[in-house]
Amino acid sequence: MIGLKLHLISDFNLETLGHYLANGKAEPQLSVSVAPFGQVFPSLLQLSQAENPDFALVWTSPQKIAPTFANALNHESVDEDRVLAEVEQFAKCLRESQNHVRALFVVSWTLPLYQRGDGILNLKGKGLRKLLLKMNLKLAEHLENSTGIFLLDGQRWTETVGKNAYSPKLWYLTKTPFHADVFRAAASDVKAAISAVVGASRKLIVVDLDNTMWGGVVGDLGWQNLRLGGHDYLGEAYVDFQRALKSLRNRGILLAIASKNEESVALEALAKHPEMVLRLGDIAAHRINWNDKAANISELVAELNLGLQSVVFIDDNPVERARVREALPEVLVPEWPDDKTLFASHLLALDCFDSAYVTLEDKSRHQLYAAEKQRDQSREQIGSAEEWLRSLNTELMVVESGEADRARVVQLMNKTNQMNLSTRRVSELELRTWLQPDTRKLWAFRVKDRFGDSGLTGILSLEIQSGAAQITDFVLSCRVMGRNVEHAMVAFAASYCRSLGLSELRADYLPTEKNKPCLTFWRSSGFLFDEGENRFTWPLSMPYPFPASIKIHQPSGAEGVQAEALRDQEDESRSVFTD
């Protein structure tokens, strides 16, 4: 990720944050501009003229945004409603400005630790900190439905630094209120937030077993003698580490095991130990053997259809960590403490799992992979590929994408690398703007079969120009690749275009390092291929056949497409597919 532009807006000197963001080694690399400080409202209004930033960050002081709060700081009697109205005014300006950037980050308000405010009355009646809490809450409420605005927790950064977070000396010298360490902590969180928005967060934790998930070597001690739970401080620490892993699983992060052990012995421990928090059902995939862990991780990633850049590897053994770091540089291998009591807190502090949108699909990702396992097993049992595809009873639900599924659509577009025609990355706002002309359409495809519901896993958008249609986005989650869903999506688009009387359907393939599978599909699609232009074309005088193995459900008003699908499915002998 190179070349993302971030614009900083503040009522104090924010240059130091700009330096950390621009000069830090951590990804993403950013080009940072800083608006003249003290001009928050004009800078927000002029955001569109600020060198087209991808993102903007707004960090303000509560007393500057809400002048009435400044009176409260002086212990003058103030009207709380007036303070909150000033907050609302600020929120309104933020909402109006978000259209000019992919995402707008706003930092919540804090007060210096040395500001005692109303002392023991701080959180009572008209106490100062109570008022500040209300201001932050009101700001959060006003921004709640603005999907392109993210409120960042500034208090985390000042707490990280502690009593030196606010520096009166820096304020008097440079109009910078905070110690550099506050900006350092902020830069780390801002980068994590940008990674989350562009879909670069990690999705899989590969974790070791012995002395990582539990204390001791199960092959030597037996599962009955492991340190896990019980009246034992280390046993409790291991249980808490497993709970922390489980909490990430509940957020949609996949868990996998890479352990050097006898598989049967380790699995018995997972199944039988009474205080084991994570059971085999919580684990998406495992490699328990004596092979090289880097090789095992590569296999796990292939099995789960993920990229190495999605992986975090956790192991207590520094030799294993070094080996994986060296062999698989894309895998994130955090340094791991020797002290077992720090395992859980260390895991929960990792910022690489931050996600801008948590969709239903995210939360049920484990079930989706469990269904995929069953699907794979059935593939091994059934002889021919065609027979297997029919046995799945795949159903495809097509809906014209709207606000309800926008977050998932954007997430899928931004995260999908392999089956992605143009690898277009967009914000919700950019997509909404793109869809404004009637000549542009975008459909979302939900896939389910007898093993489960894979959720919203496909996107196709097209633009109609001069009597022909051009596919802009063709995106399919790797979870459902290879089940003829690709063909059904193309057939749907072709059928829709035929119903409009268009002459041809085109798709321009934009190669990236990772979307070769998409090229492979299109080359097998039956479309004419112009290799020089990387362009695939289907003459719409011919219907494009719907795959017989998939039942398609259309939105109301697309009956013509439905009818064509049924006709095609009745005529099973016809096929242009070459795989």
């Binding site: 000197n13 240059e15 130091t16 330096h19 950390y20 621009a22 000069n23 830090g24 030196n164 520096s167 000396k169 820096l170 010298l173 440079t174 910078t176 110690h179 550099a180 360490d181 900006f183 350092r184």
Partner: protein
């Protein structure tokens, strides 16, 4: 004050929490530690070299006023953590580009040891 001068201070400095404030190596360790912290916010080609002769501020220096202010606050904090008392590095006209104690790493180290010597309990 020269490096030799700093060393001569060593015997006269007394510390409440440590007894090494006058040790040039020890002071330099804290200054270099502060430089490491500051370098995290600087572009690679502007990072400050850790040596006695490095010019910090003024002609030939790489720090602007914001960088210097950040360096002062970082160094003050680290010195306090190391020696147990608060030092004010902005006394004594620190920003003079020719005579200020932020001119070089060496002049800063000298100044820090002189501050320690000035403390009432250092006699």
């Amino acid at each position: 004050m020269t490096t030799q001068g700093i060393k001569s201070l060593e015997s006269s400095v007394k510390q409440p929490t440590r007894d090494r404030t006058g040790d040039l190596d020890d002071v330099l360790r804290v200054i270099y530690d502060s430089i490491s912290d500051l370098n995290l916010q600087l572009p690679e080609d502007q990072r400050i070299r850790k040596s006695l002769s490095t010019v910090l501020f003024g002609a030939g220096g790489t720090l602007d006023s914001l960088g210097l202010a950040n360096f002062i606050v970082i160094a003050e904090q680290k010195l306090e953590e190391s020696y147990g008392f608060r030092v004010d590095l902005t006394e004594d006209d620190p920003f003079s580009p020719t005579t200020g104690h932020f001119r070089t790493v060496e002049s800063l180290a000298t100044y820090v040891t002189s501050l320690a010597a000035r403390r009432p309990d250092s006699a």
